[in-house]
Symmetry: D2
Subunit: 419 residues, 4 copies
Amino acid sequence: MASLQSEPRLASGTLLDRYVATRALSVALVATLSDADATVQPNPDASPAKWHLAHTTWFFETFVLRDHVPGYRAFDDRYAYLFNSYYEAEGARHPRDRRGMLTRPTLEAILAWRAHVDQALIAADLPSEALALIELGINHEQQHQELLLTDILATFAENPLADPVWDHPRAAASPMPGPIGWIEHPGGVVEIGHAGDGFHFDCEGPRHRTLLHPHAIADRPVTNHEWRAFMADGGYTRPELWLADGWAWVRGEGVDAPLYWRRHGDDWLSFALDGLHPIRPGAPVTHISYYEAEAYARWAGARLPTEAEWETAAASADPLAGNQLDAAGPVRPQAQRGTDCQFFGEVWEWSGSAYLPYPGFRAAEGAVGEYNGKFMSGQFVLKGASCATPRGHSRASYRNFFYPHQRWQFTGLRLAKDI
Amino acid sequence: MASLQSEPRLASGTLLDRYVATRALSVALVATLSDADATVQPNPDASPAKWHLAHTTWFFETFVLRDHVPGYRAFDDRYAYLFNSYYEAEGARHPRDRRGMLTRPTLEAILAWRAHVDQALIAADLPSEALALIELGINHEQQHQELLLTDILATFAENPLADPVWDHPRAAASPMPGPIGWIEHPGGVVEIGHAGDGFHFDCEGPRHRTLLHPHAIADRPVTNHEWRAFMADGGYTRPELWLADGWAWVRGEGVDAPLYWRRHGDDWLSFALDGLHPIRPGAPVTHISYYEAEAYARWAGARLPTEAEWETAAASADPLAGNQLDAAGPVRPQAQRGTDCQFFGEVWEWSGSAYLPYPGFRAAEGAVGEYNGKFMSGQFVLKGASCATPRGHSRASYRNFFYPHQRWQFTGLRLAKDI
Amino acid sequence: MASLQSEPRLASGTLLDRYVATRALSVALVATLSDADATVQPNPDASPAKWHLAHTTWFFETFVLRDHVPGYRAFDDRYAYLFNSYYEAEGARHPRDRRGMLTRPTLEAILAWRAHVDQALIAADLPSEALALIELGINHEQQHQELLLTDILATFAENPLADPVWDHPRAAASPMPGPIGWIEHPGGVVEIGHAGDGFHFDCEGPRHRTLLHPHAIADRPVTNHEWRAFMADGGYTRPELWLADGWAWVRGEGVDAPLYWRRHGDDWLSFALDGLHPIRPGAPVTHISYYEAEAYARWAGARLPTEAEWETAAASADPLAGNQLDAAGPVRPQAQRGTDCQFFGEVWEWSGSAYLPYPGFRAAEGAVGEYNGKFMSGQFVLKGASCATPRGHSRASYRNFFYPHQRWQFTGLRLAKDI
Amino acid sequence: MASLQSEPRLASGTLLDRYVATRALSVALVATLSDADATVQPNPDASPAKWHLAHTTWFFETFVLRDHVPGYRAFDDRYAYLFNSYYEAEGARHPRDRRGMLTRPTLEAILAWRAHVDQALIAADLPSEALALIELGINHEQQHQELLLTDILATFAENPLADPVWDHPRAAASPMPGPIGWIEHPGGVVEIGHAGDGFHFDCEGPRHRTLLHPHAIADRPVTNHEWRAFMADGGYTRPELWLADGWAWVRGEGVDAPLYWRRHGDDWLSFALDGLHPIRPGAPVTHISYYEAEAYARWAGARLPTEAEWETAAASADPLAGNQLDAAGPVRPQAQRGTDCQFFGEVWEWSGSAYLPYPGFRAAEGAVGEYNGKFMSGQFVLKGASCATPRGHSRASYRNFFYPHQRWQFTGLRLAKDI
């Protein structure tokens, strides 16, 4: 048996340090929210802020405390029904599209539950297999921190009052990046997928060989300035630029700009966590769908990179660099800094690869095995990390995934081309 | 010019007294609600509690202060867009089905707005035509008090936790009423519609003659006990008892009991503002649709009364009697008290009459003229008053109206038959 | 026992004559249709032509031959499932919205079935109660003849080729009617509902007294020319003219003209059974919803007549006059003939009365009792007869009924006003 | 200039021969259909038989005759609007989901149009680039021949009468195949994609190298007998076997068997072009979705092959062998013949690969370039050929594609596994 308090200190801190910091960050992210702000569900893809706080707590209470601490009694037996997300093996659950109806438990009650679980978990004697679940739970909660922010943004974006979520000082006027530079690769067999002992999600492995074709990949994402050129050239009105499903989406939804862009006279503003502001030309375009990314690439005479191309190019990039989420940090894509080949931070980048199992992939047994594998149809992989990704959570092998029409995440694109 | 403070005292109190009491009651009704409770919208027919508080305030600020107090400046110019309900003449408005997205303004901010408007209105010099608008506004707010309660109930009913809205002491064990007594009427020309000087909504007039046919009307509503006999006799499974639209509704929605009834083993509970409790056999059945009421009547070998029959029978009943909403009162249908012919209180009663204009009806000019007339298609009239109707708000000529499938109001039925 | 061949000759011909003529007219109406034309279902409210031919045959085979001719064997046992419309008592049936999938049986097969049933029925010894069912079946089939035409029109209107259903010679250029004349009524108790021994549907009775208020009713329907003035005055863009449900319908469906009107440069054409032609100014406007009729009346400073007002005014009109359906006749509203007070023919006229039971109404027992009563919610009564109503089928007491948004029938309006 | 009549004879016959045979086969396939059978659209994914006949004709008339034969006049100018499928560059078109409304032109008229175009095309002097378009048109029509059959099947399956489309003699009682044999591959870099000069669709190329991992692939598809074991083991009721989207589909649609299986007492029948028959245990299971295929593979402890694995294994198989569509042939999966490794015929086999562009893929310019590339999102690749695929139309590099929920095609599966 072990306890979080006796775990060895690693370079990234002890597991206890990281547990405590992660749990604290979630709470810090909702500091400016009212109970009501934390309750509503802006659309069926998003969840209430309160729900994220509760669900991540349910994860620790269920898979660590309930399963590994004899005699532990659930804080409230009724919460399992309310805050299970999609684990079929864990039984019936509250319908996803009614999550915004749960005015009770209150934000305060959920914070109390969080404190209770944290206290119990820190004090517990745990078998060593529970430590792996805590590691998984930390990473799971980090994922939800990003969703927490994107869902809060979606909530505030619904309100015509356009209140900001918070009033961090704005970024200083920032430089416009130069023209895209191209990183060439001659092709050949490479290895991708997670290597080494560090934590990774099941879908990142097994590490395996794959064959690249000769190509070049851009050294930075596409900017708002470039996106406006696409718009000015009729990008949203020319069917030949679009996938058939994408064109149907554009027409059906009346799409004519990235999500959260709002017309303001002849110009556009965009709504972000810090409120409604002019478009910043040098910043990466964000809140775009796969369809938009793919159409832009076609318009630009390029294509999206495959996940293997992206991962190979990013293999030596520093996943801790770039504009990502820190306890204190602003959460908004910043203008690009000219010449560096930043692969992490700012925006998730749509790859041209479908989210499918790697060769040899097998889902884990049991409820935790429902983690990633069951979403492997119809979605595309996104690489990198966004301004809302907790720093330290990402790595080159990370596979984020969304449906091609979704764009309430901080999603952008980077170009690639055959050579 | 005049002011609320100089208005004469009537039997029902001065207009100022009534304004103050009405405004205070709305606030009292939300006393146990959190900001979040007051924010969510349980379904598109219902509105958030906060929205009711705001909309009724918008009514006074717009039609009294803005229109009749020179120099009055709106508390917040943005609120008109958010809290106009359906007055086309007042311009664009927030989509009805997105009202639950408005976490801001907070409940507290709306209460501050209410106080500001109340203060301004009480202090204002007003032309006499404004006094009629205040009277209309008071009655308008009383309507919304009932909706406030039914929508709060709908909100809490969404939550599996089944928290009560409040914990009033339960009614004492109450007697089961005796068999229905029948009040006979020989038929002939009668007058219905509002008479006299008192306040009434436009749709209640003009008073006019109409011809009744010989009939009898029950001396009390149908009880839960009687409803269970209908259920036990296959009421929800026999198409021959139902209107075609009603049967489609039963099948499409899977209806097998009144709204808010929940199976509990072999029995049923019902959810009300005071929580989840056993069905009280002697109380009037409530939360039923027109379709259900009509099917029950057919099953019982009877029919629903017309609005003229009901109004004639109720003409001498006391509209201040019965279980209605008081500042302090419990809000739940109580068991019937045997022998009195209570026509007001407990439940609204579905009539068999469509909600259509009375002979000679003309809608008022201007935005206020949108009040009732524009809803005159597809709905049925309900008569009486429910346990959630503010005492003093109803009268025999009152015409409430809902679509035949709606049942989130306190709706019940009383039988009638030809003789 | 009796047989159709031994029935006495009435003024309107023997029952046999009328049976034969009715059955023949249905077949004549589809003479220009291909099997495919007769198969498709243009929308869920409409049925395929073939289905009407089959369903009316099923009615006779089921309620007359099966129920009253010992030993009669159904032509094809599988047809009952396919061609029952809505008689719950007759068991399961093919879903209404999939009727257009039935390419088999073919039109030819259904015509063969018709001939078989006709032969059997004409030859049968029948108890006298069966004769009443034949009378009902004839009237039932006449109703379906009108639907047959409106549904064929809806089918052909779907096709961009705009083929005419038939090429009857067009009406000669026809006069524009003069200004509306007003028929005044001083009010008082009158009798309405069907009187006498003749055939009538259950919902037309019982005959009963009702009280009219003083009013005037127009001596002719509203014309296309008048409708265009409404359109030119912004009729479809001014919410204050519309019921709330109507305005939602206009906006939701993008309605800006009667159904089947098509823009043609700066002008309009309308599509009818004889193809696409210029609007005829003197003809009654048709294919309008209740919402449109009601908005027009408000715009015109008038209202729709109640069914009692209409019936009283039409009591002495000749229901056999006017432009109605004959074996040979054109089926299209014609221009009005100046001064006569035609109440029958041309278009069904929306009344302002909801379709509800008359005092004392009771539905018949058994499957046939499902005939009319179960549709008594949410619909409005239409009076008169249209150019597609078989001549001889209508009378002043006739109550046609549709939902307020429906307009694929030949529906128009006549104004009324209080005096 | 050239003409079809002067084209050289290849092994597969002259282009003229093949044009004539292809055009004739389409007509032969509808020989037993009535005009109505050929008109209705059973669901929005499918098209009417008549539409397929017309659309393939429009393709030749537009891209060959209009574009390459000076002075050619369209048979009917209105057909382009009706029968363009999805070529945005060719202008507006009739809405896809209303194709079943087109009772005109009749089947006969479309056959006349076909004859006219055939005659013109055979007689024409054509530039050599037009010959490539004819080749494309032939292959395009072959694709539509398969759709023609699957859509006819869908149409007849809608009809409770369960008429067969045709009455070919049934297959003789056929042997049950033995256990699956496994074809092993050690992995390594291979080439896939179309090679050589023969016709292929743009998406089949470019031929390129890819890396296989060691694996084994089954020597035959999964049979009905095996599928029933999956069903008996609760296959459709165990969420752990399913992708999340698949499980939502199973629950939402109430899926509990392959499409066209119908309960018959305790057993199942299946509906096919030759009518309703008992399940044939030895035949490949068909009409299953990707979700079902994927769930079955998980249940069987295997997985679906990638398209590269499949193509590599099938490289030396004879694409002309197997049960495929001939002018005379039965169209229904047959029982498996024990030991041969048939890769073509019977059923299309779901691969586990998303339908995405091959490295270096570029869509062709112009309207014809809309051919395949624009469908590259959200779909999965299917390999092989079915019993409804025209013999000669398929090859190992062929990439068929459908959405994961679609199953009205002849779709089955073959297992693979890692070794």
